[in-house]
Subunit: 374 residues, 2 copies
């Protein structure tokens, strides 16, 4: 059997805390299920690495990671508190650069964020139908509003003009939308109880744009979507403007299946979707290159590094554990034991949801005991 | 007494229906309170005007409106259903152009959307503290993501590149943020029961950006906000990334006071805020030029023209009626009777919320009868 390599990047803020718990559970799964898995942990990318080396990660960091089968990231970003001049302060743009760099340089162009509410999770919505939410938001992860083009002309003066250029390409749009249709089909095929959309079809893709105010890429998305939809006559199609979609995520989230959105719209909608599932402490995500299986996928919780609560045992590690479960699902086809471990971890987390969150370490201990026990 | 002139623009889709009800109530208020008000209704801007004249409004439309003291708009935008080739189809960019043109050409650079939940309104959130929500989202209304700059290179080919350029200027940023601080102060002064924010201050402004991924204007906003905040030591300041803000609007909306955001972020956050207040049928808005009292302000419901339900008696006219109440508040300083009429209308609507929405006309009739009765 080929040994699979998993890289753990704890990162910043609450990242190391949630990763400590997750690494322990992963070790438990490896020994219990005899997984053919080798785990390596990295001190970068991180704020503390920056303090020692003047950069967030080694020059060849991305290349080192290419040798792995999958990567699990805790969280990134720690500017340091602006009100403490003694502290080593790093701008967001430096401290978050590795996250955007990993996504872009590894060419992980699709970000998948599933949203399902599990019994026991906090319920923010009044309507109990929201407990049936079962959607997958697929976010463009390589360009668009995150192209980092533009600048500040006459910065800091009363005549400043700041521009931020959103760049969208046909190639990235087409592969994204096609992937959304493929995933919608797959999900429908795997569903135990079929769902039925307006047209009686069992799968749906909802496209998000703001084409009434941002026509240039709105039209590119709309036309590409219409063209590709013709290849998937079994999949129902729908469009929502991003503002209306946010409203409907709160009013009737159970109506959505696969949602496909640009980088920024996807960022916003997945944070909202995370709340529907009980909050950021319970929302996992995957950054993938669905077209190239050799590129390691990167898994991370939807939440950020939350430096304000770092080191205080206040971060729910279950979003990272759920991300690990997604990672194991992703590697499951490589070895049957990995599929079993993934399923076991999903079950452990689902069972653990009956406990309200009471501390990072407490959650870790409870899960470790369960894992050791049964 | 000077006669005040109010322009009514019913617009498209459900706009004419909700405006019919609103015009009737306005007429009732004028006669009951002897308001020194002259009302004029326009068939433009609208899709049907476009069918007759080949444009959404007359060339001098904006200039005609400049002569008014305030404008009330129903809703705009009616592309016609894409699946009915017999119908006269208009692209979003044409059918919505007048809305963006009115905001821009009249230089209505601030959009204010208050969010308060009133007893009887639908409750989408589970936590009853959400009933105490009392915020004001102030949206930039003149530039940013809605600058309509950019285009499509090699449109429709596999090598297409679409760009959408976000343009932000120091002047527009400064006036917007200053206005937000002014409004926060005013709101605190008018509040019967003081609110206390983290720092013990009685007012707060929360700035929204996505500066970790969109640094150019994110930094302009952040620096401008920090500079202006020093002039308002009595106002607490806060910052949220737009994705986190969306999450918190659902998790703990009662924590916000004044929220200031860019054009697109404001669009998204105000739709979410509308849901907090019971949905788009109950959310009013104002487009203002706070620096120039001669420019007529434009009031409109947050909802769109919803062509899918147009003509079916399904649109709640109360968002437009609430927008009329905001309009009367805005003109109240011109004549005491207008303030009385505004108050009466607020009360009528609040009382009417005990009735679940059952039809556009039914709501109108009930309110007219109340107005006539007492
Ligand atoms: C940290 C930030 C740049 C990032 C993003 O916007 O992509 C985060 O919000 C996320 O959703 O993963
Ligand atoms: C119709 C559309 C262009 C408009 C906007 O985005 O400004 C609407 O959503 C609104 O919020 O007033």
């Amino acid at each position: 059997t080929q040994t699979l390599k998993i890289a753990l990047l704890p990162g910043d803020g609450i990242g190391p805390e949630v990763m400590t718990v997750t690494a322990e559970i992963l070790a438990g799964l490896v020994s219990r299920f005899q997984l053919p898995v080798e785990v390596q942990s990295f001190a970068w990318p991180s704020h503390s690495w920056h303090q020692q080396h003047g950069q967030m990660m080694p020059e060849d960091g991305v290349d080192q990671l290419r040798a792995f089968d999958a990567i699990l990231l805790g969280a990134l970003g720690d500017p340091g508190p602006i009100d403490d001049p003694q502290r080593y302060v790093l701008s967001d743009s430096i401290s978050l650069a590795p996250l955007l760099a990993l996504r872009k340089e590894l060419n992980l162009w699709a970000c998948e964020r599933p949203a399902r509410w599990l019994p026991g999770a906090p319920q923010y919505l009044a309507d109990s139908r929201a407990n049936n939410v079962d959607m997958l938001v697929i976010r463009e992860n390589s360009e668009g509003e995150y192209s980092n083009q533009g600048g500040r002309l006459r910065a800091g003066t009363p005549n400043e003009v700041a521009t931020q250029v959103e760049v969208f390409t046909a190639g990235a749009t087409e592969r994204l939308i096609r992937h959304a249709f493929d995933r919608a089909r797959q999900r429908a095929a795997l569903r135990h109880t079929p769902r039925h959309f307006a047209t009686g079809k069992e799968a749906q893709v909802c496209l998000i744009t703001k084409r009434n105010a941002q026509p240039f890429w709105g039209d590119l998305y709309t036309e590409t979507f219409a063209r590709i939809a013709r290849e998937y006559p079994d999949v129902d199609t729908h469009h929502e403007l991003v503002d209306a979609a946010c409203m409907k995520f709160v009013q009737c989230p159970w109506r959505f299946d696969v949602v496909v959105a640009s980088n920024l719209h996807g960022d916003i909608l997945t944070d909202l979707a995370a709340v529907l599932c009980g909050g950021p402490g319970l929302a996992p995500s995957a950054n993938l290159n669905p077209a190239d299986a050799r590129i390691p996928a990167l898994f991370e919780p939807v939440h950020g590094s939350a430096p304000d609560i770092a080191g205080r045992n206040m971060a729910d590690p279950r979003a990272t554990l759920m991300s690990l479960a997604m990672l194991l699902d992703y590697l499951a086809h490589k070895h049957p034991a990995i599929g079993n471990a993934a399923q076991h971890l999903h079950d452990l987390i689902a069972e653990d949801l009956k406990y309200a969150f009471s501390g990072t370490r407490e959650t870790g201990q409870r899960l470790s005991q369960r894992l050791a026990a049964g």
